[in-house]
């Protein structure tokens, strides 16, 4: 690719690299930590953004997810740890040389430039000749469906359209990865849902790796190949959405993704993946024991069972596990019925088809059952 001739009397332009391998290399985040002259806001976070994958950092505000993204982008310097692309460390590179496409919640489009000029900007910074950059910008605007708006100014577009321009601008230079920091936070619910699908389909078509930051669990579930759940600066668990949903490692992860019932246990017996638990009334049940805490500290145990995995048992029906409780409330939601049942002095939620829960009328004593595979033994953090 031809570059503009260098003018030797000017300060050297920090021209970013024109990556030919954008999105086809892994980004490794190794033991990353950050503190602003105080407690650590990110502690020992390690994961690999695999090429072509959509990885979401999910967590509440203050969990360190945005700070992690800002460190990858180069706007914050890690206190410890390393970030590597294809084995080469990039922590000493300024943001303009890292070749990541970053999109913020506020869109951050240049207000005085047209849509096309905005999308051409990263190519202009890389010294791409005007003819080629116009063609590439037009091509990318076509991909995000904004060709008709090429000559508009950002303020003449809707929020969703502006966000698509920001996406096109972040993608046009074939970045190593796309870093999205709560990009849909400013949009209303309906638009957010359609943008989720749109971003996902653009990502699939282009094949770029995406590191996505959000606090919205549904958004994370819909879009991600893998989700990394963060809390208090720590990465608690990373895995596919169904992994995390079926086999959460901690009570926090279990409640961060969907609804769950946490039933306290007095003790855990046995060894191996399937173990016996003792409930507060002395009865016993079976549950999966997958995630063993690393330190040997004594922690209170509980089991997690999803509401839709509980069943209302008939009088003589056999089940792998069963407990008894009193129905407090039943709500018809439409596609399912939701019951609140009091067990061991706490409320348990059960969801299911209307006919399966016919016996669970308020005030009735019922037996509820579940399969051993659907119950997880978790330990308090």
């Amino acid at each position: 690719m031809k570059r503009a001739p260098a003018l030797s009397f000017l300060p050297r332009r920090d021209t970013p690299p024109l990556s030919a391998t954008g999105g086809r290399r892994d980004v490794e985040i190794i033991s990353l930590a950050k503190s602003y002259s105080g407690p650590l806001v990110v502690r020992d976070v390690t994961f690999t953004l695999q090429h072509g994958e959509f990885l979401t950092l999910l967590g509440p505000s203050g969990s360190g997810k945005s700070t992690t993204l800002l460190m990858v982008a180069g706007f914050e310097r890690p206190s410890r740890g390393d970030i590597r692309i294809a084995g080469r460390s990039i922590v000493d590179e300024p943001p303009q040389r890292r070749n990541f496409g970053v999109v913020f919640q506020s869109y951050a489009l240049f207000p005085h430039m047209t849509v096309t000029e905005n999308v051409e900007f990263p190519l202009r910074m890389r010294g791409v000749p005007p003819r080629e950059r116009r063609a590439r910008a037009a091509d990318m605007l076509d991909k995000v469906g904004l060709s008709l708006f090429a000559r508009r100014k950002p303020r003449e577009l809707s929020g969703g359209q502006q966000q698509r321009v920001a996406l096109a601008r972040a993608l046009v230079f074939d970045p190593e990865a796309l870093l999205l920091d709560e990009p849909l936070g400013a949009l209303d619910k309906r638009l957010r849902e359609s943008m989720q699908i749109e971003i996902k389909s653009i990502q699939r078509r282009i094949g770029v790796s995406v590191l996505y930051v959000t606090h919205d669990q549904e958004e994370a579930m819909v879009m991600s190949d893998r989700i990394a759940v963060m809390r208090d600066g720590r990465l608690l668990q990373i895995g596919t959405p169904s992994d995390l949903y079926r086999r959460p490692a901690t009570p926090f992860v279990a409640t961060a993704l969907g609804e769950t019932n946490l039933v306290p246990c007095l003790g855990v017996e046995g060894s191996g993946p399937g173990r016996r638990v003792v409930f507060p009334d002395g009865s016993r049940g079976w549950a999966q024991h997958v995630h063993v805490p690393e330190d040997g500290a004594e922690r209170r145990a509980m089991i997690s069972v999803r509401p839709e995995r509980l069943r209302c048992l008939g009088p003589d029906e056999e089940a792998e596990n069963a407990i008894e409780g009193v129905v407090k409330d039943q709500t018809f939601v439409g596609s399912y019925v939701r019951c609140t049942i009091e067990v061991f002095g706490q409320h348990i939620i059960m969801k299911g088809a209307e006919d399966g829960l016919a016996a669970a009328r308020p005030g009735q004593r019922v037996r509820i059952g579940w399969r051993t595979d659907d119950a997880q033994i978790l330990y308090e953090e």
Binding site: P11, R13, D14, T15, P16, A73, G74, F75, P94, P95, Q96, R97, R98, N99, F100, G101, V102, F104, Q105, S106, A108, L109, F110, P111, H112, M113, F121, P122, M125, R126, R151, R152, K153, R155, E156, A166, R169, A170, F173, L179
Partner: protein
């Protein structure tokens, strides 16, 4: 672009609801309007009273004028002393605007998006020329410039005025930068922009409206200033306000009223142009479908 009569009629209906009759305002609105009129007169009359005085046919200032004539203006433009006073004022103001713009903008940029102890104090120091007694500043400038043999020159007046004008640019540019989205800077950098490119493509466009407003204020601050200019006046360095001040002590020439009327006219014109530009920008911003 023509406005159709229908559109006008529609607008009229909106403002003049038929049920209310002809008078569009409520009793409270009418009283408020009545209360405002004397205040507007109080604010404007002293300035406007000079305008009719400028059109007198007599060789002496008089009010009310005994006729209408352009003679004071003709005399004014044939008087070399007045013309050169105008030129000196323009030169001094231009120098002040250039220096104040550079200094004020740099100060605002330096203090933008950083926090450090003593920042508030530093900002107050930058604003001192606005609140400091003008006479003290004038005396200090005079003493200082005397050493460099710059008193009695338009350069000296321009330099002194730039000190007075820089805070205005600082304030307006700072206000412009306050509205700048920090994500814009980060975006630009992640897209490959180095410091120079960020300055050119993010900061310059953001501070441009503030700089324009600040430069205008700086120009007015210098063009209008009398005390400093009086201290530093000389045969080659008499500004318009100084000439007006000194002349009125010797002769009551209507030329002074003519100059004043011209200044009022120019100020009104500048104000109208600026308002029109602002309204235009607003309607473009909210106009929806743009025309190419």
């Amino acid at each position: 672009m023509g406005v159709s009569e229908d559109a006008l009629a529609a607008a009229g209906r909106r403002w003049l609801p038929a049920a209310r009759g002809r008078w569009p305002f409520s009793l409270g609105g009418t009283l408020l309007f009545a209360a405002c009129v004397p205040i507007f007169l109080y604010l404007l009359l002293p300035t406007l009273v000079v305008v009719p005085m400028a059109f007198t046919p007599k060789p002496l200032l008089e009010f009310p004028p005994s006729g209408v004539s352009l003679r004071p203006f003709r005399d004014l433009f044939h008087d070399g002393a007045w013309i050169s006073a105008g030129v000196v004022s323009l030169k001094a103001a231009s120098l002040a605007v250039v220096i104040a713009s550079v200094v004020g903008t740099m100060a605002a940029l330096a203090l933008h998006a950083v926090r450090f102890p003593g920042q508030g104090l530093l900002q107050s120091i930058i604003l001192v020329p606005i609140v400091a007694p003008l006479i003290v500043l004038a005396l200090a400038d005079y003493e200082f410039l005397l050493k460099f043999h710059l008193t009695g020159t338009w350069t000296g007046i321009g330099l002194s005025h730039s000190v007075l004008a820089a805070p205005y640019v600082f304030i307006t540019v700072q206000a412009s930068l306050a509205g700048l989205d920090p994500a814009l800077v980060r975006s630009a950098r992640s897209l490959g922009a180095g410091s120079l490119s960020v300055f050119r493509h993010v900061y310059i466009p953001a501070l441009r409206p503030g700089l324009a407003a600040g430069a205008l204020l700086a120009f007015i601050a210098s063009f209008d200033e009398t005390v400093i200019a009086l201290f530093q006046q000389g045969p080659q360095a008499t500004t318009l306000p100084v000439k007006m001040f000194t002349d009125i002590q010797y002769e009551l020439s209507p030329k002074i009223a003519a100059v004043a009327a011209l200044l009022v006219g120019v100020a009104t014109l500048v104000f109208l142009v600026q308002t029109a530009a602002l309204v235009g920008r607003r309607s473009r911003a909210h106009g929806g479908w743009p025309t190419r």
